[in-house]
Point group: C2
Chain length 85, copies 2
């Protein structure tokens, strides 16, 4: 996917997952540095209802294959932050 375009359309995702995908609340998973294919598969499964989450179901409704690929590329290319426990 095209990470640059992914960044442009990632504003809604950032609301929960954090601008670079390093969400600061445990309720929303960190997606920074996650595998691009894993993210694409998860989004595709949310869209197909194969993976169920009420919040995500609403988010992916308006996404097409290209958006899913680009968003996956963007968040996969972010650095996974490490918080000292």
């Amino acid at each position: 996917g095209d990470a640059a375009r992914g960044k442009e359309i990632s504003t809604t995702c950032a609301a929960c997952h954090g601008t670079d995908g390093n969400s600061t609340t445990a309720e929303f998973p960190r997606i920074a540095g996650q595998h691009e294919d894993y993210l694409r598969q998860a989004l595709t499964d949310y869209k197909a209802g194969k993976r169920r989450n009420p919040i995500m179901a609403a988010q992916v409704e308006s996404l097409d294959k290209r958006d899913i690929a680009d968003l996956s590329a963007w968040f996969a290319s972010q650095k996974g932050l490490y918080f000292k426990r």
Copy 2:
């Protein structure tokens, strides 16, 4: 949870997710540095069948609350590696 004990019981998890949780195959999500509560919630939901995945369902069957808490602590405390795309 107790990350040290989590490390001891994480061998089976490491088979797919990688010794420190940085899986190298897109099929298995990276869990290194993921939120501890998120991991604990995910494992608990897999065990309760609220989150469905055939592989994970089998894995969590033998885990009790303490195992789930300790495994979550261990993988959450790992550094999320960042692979240059």
